[in-house]
């Protein structure tokens, strides 16, 4: 059970920080109405009201989502490598450089083919 204590402490700190930020923001921040504040968080298409028949949305979102997933997966592989960096030594470094170089090729392709231009 003692093994889980650091995780519980970390969770408590995270929760405390979130609650502190929300409460502090509500108490000290100014309240100015702005339409954008009621929009969906981050970005993307408006989820409501739904257009008839589901409507159409630009395929550009799909491209962005794909790119996001590629770099998200990169992090998934970088993390365990970072943890075991000591035991993997030069072998791990070379493999990771190869992996990132391959992803760089993908990135270069998308960039050159205009995948990063929104319009």
């Amino acid at each position: 059970m003692t093994a889980y204590v650091p995780i519980i402490v970390l969770g408590a700190i995270a929760l405390g920080f979130a609650m502190f930020s929300i409460v502090a923001g509500a108490l000290t921040g100014p309240r100015r109405y702005n339409r954008a504040k009621l929009d969906a968080y981050e970005c993307g298409i408006e989820p409501t009201p739904q257009p008839v028949g589901g409507g159409r949305f630009p395929v550009k979102y799909y491209l962005t989502a794909m790119l996001f997933i590629i770099f998200d997966i990169e992090i998934v592989f970088l993390y365990p490598w970072a943890v075991y960096f000591d035991s993997l030594r030069i072998f791990g470094l070379v493999e990771m450089v190869l992996f990132i170089a391959t992803l760089l090729v993908v990135y270069a392709y998308v960039w050159r083919r205009g995948g990063l231009d929104w319009d």
Binding site: T2, A3, P6, I7, V83, Y84, S87, L88, R89, F91, G92, E95, T102, V105, V106, A108, Y109, W111, R112, R113
Partner: protein, 526 residues
């Protein structure tokens, strides 16, 4: 060290050892694919086609040379994830040669302005946008890296020694193929329909495969085929997990080879895909998938052959019967060849069930006969589909059988070459098809599967009927007035057809070299 990690016992960790030199064929092919992507990104459109073609062919031939130089290797690599042994190298060499022909015939540009593939993959078929893009005459060159990625997956598929690697290989080979199926220049809606059907059913079968892997992991506690074999022999845990896992993995693999009852995608996809891609899929995918099937059922669950053999018997019989009988009613050349490929998958399965057949020399007959059949079938198939591309009318390829009537009067050479391919499919002596069928049937007899051989011989006779109906149509019918013409292809397609025909004859007349090679290559590393 991180305090969180320090609390628990330190996990044992061994840095994996990667034997790059033994993996060279796959590394070359995948490396060329990556370079191909860079060419697409940075090279001007004017030079892309030539550069991509030279890169692809040179890469495939270099990979073939490195496969040959690895001959005799018998090792388990990358911590047990990959096995480089006789069957793996034999099939990799076969795939590389067939893929070279596939790339050559896919690069054909003189039959259709702009080549086999559409210049406007993203445009809506029939739209003004499509017309504009097509008018630019742009040649689609992204197909080359796509094909190289697919070939890389195909090389890994029969060499994967654990089920997760096998799944990765399955996806690497499948995803580019889904895309390639949908890129035909003519009849784009049919092509996109084929791509969609292949993708949906392929994703479905991958899910079956993955669920089977999960159950086998639950049974054996490992995804390594050797570990599963150990668990089978020690009869460790619940047999129902083992049986269900084996059956689900089999569904995933039998889908890829197009065995009945998992064949329903084959005719639609083979008909809709660009014809050189159909030939490439029919030859290379089948070779790779049979390699994986052999490895799973000989190395992984070979110890419980008594349990899976009845299933394979049923699948083999169904595949032979339905493939041969339904082919009779087909009126389209590509669909007919698709059903013929289904029937051939059944014939290969009769060799695969003969697990007990071991020759005095130690040769595993079940494996060696399948290896030989795949070479024979692959070259004939890729040649036959390449030949279909040269019979054309104003709308592109003339694939309806009625249009092939009297073809011998228009072009005796094409008619005779197609007759040779059909004779090989039917298993007529002095063609590779006869030697291949003889090999799998004798292996099946040695492995006490005589009833299967009886079905196989009867179905060969049924199949011969519809093959020779086409021959009769070509030679003894009057040609239609507005019938198709035989276009003269460039050297690319000519080489493909000629190599297909050459191997078909050589393996029929003088098969001993390849038979010996298949015999020596028939033993799996464990």
């Amino acid at each position: 060290m991180n305090p969180v990690l320090a609390v628990g016992p330190a996990l044992p960790f061994h840095a994996p050892n990667v034997e790059y030199s033994d993996l060279l064929p796959m590394l070359i092919v995948l490396g060329v694919a990556v370079v191909g992507v860079l060419v697409e990104a940075f090279m001007g459109r004017r030079y892309r086609f030539e550069v991509q073609l030279v890169l692809a062919v040179a890469g495939l031939l270099a990979a073939f040379v490195s496969v040959v130089s690895l001959a005799g290797t018998n090792k388990v690599l990358v911590g047990g994830a990959v096995a480089i042994d006789g069957p793996a190298l034999f099939l990799q060499g076969t795939i590389l040669l067939l893929a070279t022909l596939g790339v050559l015939s896919s690069a054909e540009r003189s039959l259709d302005t702009g080549g086999v593939f559409t210049s406007a993959g993203s445009a809506i078929p029939g739209s003004e946008h499509e017309r504009l893009l097509t008018a630019t005459g742009v040649v689609q060159t992204e197909v080359f890296p796509l094909m190289m990625f697919a070939i890389g997956g195909m090389l890994l598929f029969p060499a994967s020694n654990d089920l997760l690697t096998m799944f990765v290989a399955l996806e690497v080979l499948s995803l580019p193929l889904y895309l390639l199926c949908g890129l035909a220049r003519r009849r784009r809606l049919l092509s996109q329909e084929a791509s969609m059907k292949y993708f949906l059913l392929g994703a479905f079968s991958s899910a079956f495969f993955l669920y089977g892997v999960a159950l086998l992991y639950g049974y054996a506690g490992t995804v390594r085929l050797s570990g599963i074999a150990t668990a089978v022999s020690s009869n460790a845990s619940s047999e129902s997990l083992l049986l269900m896992g084996t059956a689900l993995v089999a569904v995933g693999l039998l889908f890829k080879i197009g065995a009945v009852p998992f064949h329903s995608w084959t005719p639609d996809v083979y008909q809709g895909a660009p014809t050189p891609i159909t030939g490439f899929m029919a030859a290379c995918t089948k070779v790779a998938a049979f390699g994986a099937l052999l490895r799973v059922f000989y190395v992984g669950v070979g110890g419980m052959a008594w349990d899976w053999q009845p299933m394979m018997w049923a699948v083999a019989i169904l595949t032979m019967v339905i493939g041969s009988v339904v082919a009779i009613t087909q009126t389209d050349v590509k669909r007919m060849l698709a059903y013929s490929s289904i029937a051939h998958a059944g014939f290969v399965l009769t060799g695969l069930v003969a697990t007990g057949a071991v020759a005095k020399s130690g040769e595993i007959l079940g494996v060696s006969s399948v290896l030989f059949y795949l070479v024979a079938y692959g070259f004939t198939t890729i040649g036959a589909f390449a030949l279909v591309t040269v019979v054309r009318d104003a709308g592109g390829e003339a694939t309806h059988l009625s249009q092939w009537a009297g073809l011998a009067q228009r072009s005796p050479l094409v008619a005779w070459t197609f007759t040779l391919f059909l004779a090989a499919f039917a298993g007529i002596p002095l063609t590779s098809g006869f030697t291949g069928k003889f090999a799998v049937f004798s292996a099946a007899i040695a492995g006490d599967a005589t009833p299967l051989v009886v079905v196989g011989v009867v179905m060969s006779a049924v199949a011969a009927f519809f093959y020779f109906r086409v021959v009769v149509l070509m030679f003894f019918s009057a040609p239609a007035l507005d019938g198709p013409t035989v276009a003269v292809p460039s050297a690319l397609t000519t080489v493909t057809i000629a190599m297909g025909a050459l191997v078909t004859v050589v393996l029929g007349v003088w098969p001993s070299q390849v038979l010996d090679l298949a015999g020596q290559a028939s033993i799996f590393v464990r």
